[in-house]
Structures are given as structure tokens and as C-alpha cells.
């Protein structure tokens, strides 16, 4: 054993850890489990179980408004995440690999959307888009979502790029690879895990957004969270539980998928 034993102490030896952890987990997940359980309710009540059925799931899949909103959300998230990933990659390449003047200021501007209260961004975008005559709708949503997704895509990409050996690109140049091929054959494949986590993070953040989407979506471009909120105004039915459970399932699948891919990559 080393003279200085730097092995971490087992957290379970700290007093009260078990109780605290159990409470935290309960408060985090009990509501979600509750919601999922009642999504299988055979009755209309959201507080009394009248047997189990897939009735409300059938209702969700039969509801064209929910289907349309879900499609909008996914389409918007795919487009916004992809655009944000491209821009974040360009930004990360410049910030990590090149000499940039006022780097700290540039970094702050890049991450600005993380710090500004979302309601402010939402109202500002609403006013700005109507002032320049852009109007509400899918186009405005794409612009706004891309903007606030950039920092989420940027962080994992920049982290990956920082940990990558810049010497590999020099070595590729030494071995007769021109700049575009260096990027395509060396930088891009090694950056792939960062690109994937950046894209997924942006995708989830976009899919999940409510405040900005509720301000900017016009008729026909309603996203799923906005639509669920509007359903609540007509009273809570297990149908809301069912569609929410489906969203949880979709998010979980995305997270598991990214975990599996990143494990295989490394």
C-alpha cells in the first residue's frame, strides 16, 4: 500500500446517506411512475384506478392533433439539432484549434443562451421576429431552436476536440493528406463520439422545449409539449398521461442508444 492512501472512502459509510438517497430518488421518480401507472387506467379518473387497459394509448394514436404535434416536434428537433451541430463544430474547431482574438468574450457569446432566462429569449425572439416581419410558424421555430441548441452541441464537441491530439493532423499532413482529407479522414472520425453526444443533447433539449415554442409556434406548427399544455386546459385525462409516458419512453430510448454507441466507440 502506498504511504499516502488516496483511495476514495466508500460513500455508504457516511451517516444518513441511505435515507437521503432514497428520499431523493423517490421525489424524482415517484411522480413519473405514478403518471405511467395511471396512463394504463381503464377509467377517466386520474386519482382512482379502474383496472388496466391500453385504452388511452389507442386514443393517443387515434388523435391526429397529437400525431401532428409529435411529428412537428421530432422534425423540428432533427433540423435544429443538425444545424446547431454543424455550427457548433465550426465554432469548436476555431476555438480549440486556431488563434482567436478575445477568446473569453467569444466563449461567453457562444454560451449566452445558457445564461439568459429562457422567458426573456422567448419574448425577445417573438418581438424581433414580428418586427422584421418573419411571422410565427415552423421557420421561426427552427431559427430559435437552432440558436439555443448551439451551446448544448458545442460543449461535448469542444471537450472531445480538446482531448484529441492535434499532432495527428500534423502527422496526416506529413503523410501527404491535404486539408480536406485531413478533416474527413482524421479529425471527423475521431470527433464522431463528441458530434453524436452534441447532436443528441441538442435533440433532447429541442424536443423538450416549451417556453420558446409556445411563444413562436403558429397554427399548424404546434409542438408536442405546447399541445400537451393546451390539453391540460380542457381538464386532465389519462390521455395526457399516455402521451407523456410515450415521451419518457422516447427520451429513455435516445439516452440508451447514445450510451450503447459511445460504449462501442471507445
Amino acid at each position: 500500500m502506498a504511504l499516502l492512501d488516496t483511495r476514495a472512502r466508500d460513500i455508504r459509510n457516511l451517516p444518513g446517506v441511505g435515507v437521503t438517497a432514497a428520499l431523493a430518488v423517490a421525489f424524482l421518480y415517484a411522480p413519473i411512475l405514478f403518471l405511467m401507472l395511471y396512463s394504463f387506467n381503464d377509467g377517466r379518473s386520474i386519482s382512482r384506478l379502474d383496472g388496466l387497459s391500453f385504452r388511452w394509448y389507442r386514443a393517443v394514436f387515434a388523435n391526429e392533433e397529437i400525431g401532428g404535434a409529435a411529428l412537428n416536434s421530432v422534425l423540428l428537433a432533427v433540423i435544429a439539432a443538425s444545424l446547431a451541430t454543424v455550427m457548433a463544430t465550426a465554432a469548436a474547431l476555431a476555438m480549440v484549434r486556431m488563434r482567436v482574438r478575445r477568446k473569453a468574450a467569444t466563449y461567453a457569446v457562444l454560451n449566452f443562451p445558457l445564461m439568459v432566462p429562457e422567458i426573456v429569449t422567448a419574448i425577445a425572439s417573438l418581438i424581433f421576429f414580428s418586427a422584421i416581419g418573419l411571422g410565427l410558424g415552423f421557420g421561426s421555430l427552427v431559427i430559435a431552436h437552432t440558436t439555443f441548441c448551439i451551446p448544448f452541441a458545442y460543449l461535448p464537441i469542444a471537450a472531445r476536440l480538446t482531448s484529441m491530439d492535434a499532432g495527428l493532423e500534423v502527422a496526416a499532413a506529413d503523410l501527404y493528406a491535404r486539408p480536406l482529407r485531413r478533416f474527413a479522414l482524421i479529425t471527423l472520425p475521431l470527433l464522431a463520439p463528441g458530434l453524436l453526444s452534441g447532436w443528441l443533447l441538442a435533440f433532447i433539449v429541442s424536443l423538450d422545449d416549451f417556453i420558446i415554442s409556445s411563444m413562436l409556434s403558429g397554427p399548424g406548427s404546434t409542438t408536442l409539449p405546447v399541445h400537451i399544455y393546451s390539453m391540460l386546459r380542457l381538464g386532465i385525462t389519462p390521455e395526457v398521461n399516455a402521451v407523456s409516458s410515450l415521451m419518457v419512453l422516447a427520451s429513455a430510448l435516445v439516452v440508451i442508444l447514445s450510451g450503447l454507441i459511445s460504449r462501442r466507440k471507445t
Partner: protein, 358 residues
């Protein structure tokens, strides 16, 4: 032998970083002609400019002043991908997502060579460095020595006119380093490629090189064959850096150089001039004081006896600076041993004392 001209000619080469008062002159006034087919070594301590020079030849960096010609062709402003030069990097820089075969074939693929030619060359290179059967492995499945071989094969595969090696052995353990020295030297002889080898390790440089340029402070201090560098160092720095030498201050008198505590060493020079005497620790015989002969130095006092297994070393006091004398193990059999406090004299081998301008 056919005349190949110079592989690489450097003229008035300099590299300065920054501007004005904070400018750092990493390299200045370098004039070198590296011959074709030669094993040429840039030797010096860290920060001496040797790696900067290598980067300029490879094209990773551009000189502030001066010219570089590779086989007669001026390569000013030319990016690395256009130079007929390949590099073995200090930490190998193997592409982690490519297999050994893909790493070795990378340059040929970039040059657009046909698939069959690439496969044949890769097979030949893998065999040359003794990595048969490892073609499908990735770099993280290789040991340090194997990575070193892949890096070598990858740089040799496109058939460079000059191979640059940046401290390629420094990351290996001592035993492997010893073996790779011989292999590198043999490889250079077999391929006939000009090697430009950068190292801070004088043993490596002496063992492998045809010629060595000793560098310090961004300048070449001495250029010559290993024997010349070792036996006839041009200045204090070279004498001290290569092999270590006793550097003794002296003043020229009528009969030779007079050194405090040692006596007069026959030499000619301007009277009164300050000079430095350089003497290798292993080129001095040590004997008991008393039987003093003309030409012996001393007497001196033994201050420390240092046993190092294959040799025995003494630190002597009584001169202007402490002197070191090293006896090979064979010398011990002559029962020549001394303890601290013993009075001794020194008898230099013929031609062992070099006079350097100080």
C-alpha cells in the same frame, strides 16, 4: 559511390517567435549541408533549437529568414504535404482509429497509388520492421516498442527522400532503446535514405551518426563525425555536453598554460591569455603523490570516492575547480584505490588535454 549532392541544404536559416523586445530567437544563422545517404544527428539539450530546425525541414513551421533546399529544390512556403520528407514523431502520433496496415498505407493512399501497390508496400514495410501478424491490430493494442515500429514503417512506406526522426527512442525503456539503436542504424544502411535524427542523448548520437551537429542557443556549436566531436570539442559547451569534461581555467605563461594547483601544461599561445583546459575524466591516470614526474599534475587531495559498478570515480580537490577522474573496472585490478584524504597526482594521456579559448 555515385554523387547524390546534398539531401538538404540550409542557408542562413533563422526562426524568431514574437516581435520587438519580447522576441525569442529560437534559431539563428544556421548553415548546414546534410549529405545524401547520411545518418545526420542534431544533438543538444532541450530548448537548443533542434526540434525547431526539424519542424522547418518538415514544413510544420516556416523560417523567419533563410532558405531550405531539399535535393536542390527550394521548399520555401511549401506545406508539409508537398515535401518529399516524412517524420517519425516523438510520441508516434499513430492514427488510433486505423489498423496497423491502414496506418502504414496512409501516405500511399493519399498519393493515390493503386490498391495492389499499397498492399504490397504495406506487407514489405510490416516485414521490414518485424510486425508480421499485427496488421489488423489498432495502436492501443500495441506495446510501446511495437508502436515505434509502426511509426517507422508508416514514415518509410512512401519512400521519402529524407526521414526525420524526433527523439524517437525517448519513450522506450533502456533495454529496448539499446536494441532499436542498432535496428535504426541497420535500417538506414539498408534503405539508403537520409536520416535526420534529433536527440538530447549523446550516447545515441555517438553510436548511430555519420555526422553530428551539436546545437545550443539556436546555433550549431560544432559539426563533425562522432570521433571529432568527442576527441576534439570546439568549445566549452561541446566539451561539457558530450561525455562531460573537466573544464579548468588557466592562463598562458611563457612555458605553457598555468593552472592553479596543477602546474604548467605545455602549450603555445598569447602570453597572459585566459584559456580553458578540457580533460576527459577517463583520460587521466591517478597515482600516489610523491613519485612526481615531469608532466604530472598536482598534488591534489581525494575528496570523494564514488563506486559505480563498472567504474570507479574520484572527486579531487586542490585545483581551481573540483576534478573528476574515472577508472574503468580493469583499472581496479592494479590495486589502484584511494580513500578520501589521500594525496594524489594525475598523469594525463598523450593528447588528452585540449586548450579552448575561454
Amino acid at each position: 559511390m555515385q554523387d547524390h549532392g546534398d539531401a538538404c541544404r540550409l542557408t542562413g536559416l533563422g526562426r524568431t517567435y514574437g516581435r520587438g523586445a519580447s522576441a525569442h530567437h529560437a534559431l539563428g544563422g544556421i548553415d548546414l549541408a546534410i549529405r545524401a545517404n547520411e545518418f545526420f544527428t542534431l544533438l543538444g539539450p532541450s530548448g537548443c533549437g533542434k526540434t525547431t530546425l526539424l519542424r522547418l525541414i518538415a514544413g510544420f513551421d516556416q523560417p523567419t529568414v533563410g532558405e531550405i533546399a531539399i535535393f536542390g529544390r527550394n521548399v520555401a512556403g511549401m506545406p508539409p504535404e508537398d515535401r518529399p520528407v516524412n517524420t517519425v514523431f516523438q510520441h508516434y502520433a499513430l492514427f488510433p482509429h486505423l489498423t496497423v496496415a491502414e496506418n502504414v498505407g496512409f501516405a500511399l493512399r493519399m498519393l493515390g497509388r493503386p490498391r495492389t501497390e499499397i498492399a504490397a508496400t504495406v506487407a514489405r514495410m510490416v516485414e521490414l520492421v518485424g510486425l508480421e501478424g499485427m496488421e489488423k491490430r489498432r495502436p492501443d493494442q500495441l506495446s510501446g516498442g511495437q508502436k515505434q515500429r509502426v511509426a517507422l514503417a508508416r514514415a518509410l512506406a512512401p519512400g521519402p527522400k529524407i526521414l526525420l526522426l524526433d527523439e524517437p527512442l525517448s519513450a522506450l525503456d533502456a533495454k529496448l532503446r539499446q536494441r532499436m539503436r542498432s535496428e535504426l542504424k541497420a535500417l538506414q544502411r539498408e534503405t539508403g535514405i537520409t536520416f535526420v535524427f534529433v536527440t538530447h542523448d549523446q550516447d545515441e548520437a555517438l553510436a548511430m551518426s555519420d555526422r553530428i551537429a551539436v546545437m545550443q542557443g539556436g546555433k550549431v556549436q560544432q559539426l563533425g563525425r562522432p570521433e571529432e566531436i568527442y576527441e576534439a570539442p570546439a568549445n566549452r559547451f561541446v566539451a561539457d555536453f558530450i561525455g562531460g569534461a573537466n573544464l579548468i581555467p588557466a592562463r598562458m605563461g611563457p612555458e605553457g598554460a598555468v593552472a592553479e594547483g596543477l602546474g604548467t601544461i605545455p602549450a603555445t599561445g598569447t602570453g597572459g591569455a585566459e584559456v580553458t583546459l578540457a580533460i576527459r575524466p577517463e583520460r587521466l591516470a591517478i597515482l600516489p603523490a610523491g613519485g612526481h614526474q615531469p608532466g604530472d599534475l598536482g598534488p591534489l587531495t581525494v575528496a570523494e570516492r564514488i563506486y559505480m559498478g563498472n567504474e570507479l570515480s574520484f572527486r579531487l580537490e586542490g585545483a581551481a575547480v573540483p576534478l573528476h577522474v574515472t577508472l574503468p573496472r580493469g583499472g581496479l585490478r592494479g590495486a589502484l584505490d584511494f580513500a578520501p584524504g589521500d594525496r594524489v597526482a594525475l598523469r594525463p594521456e598523450a593528447g588528452a588535454i585540449r586548450l579552448l579559448a575561454s
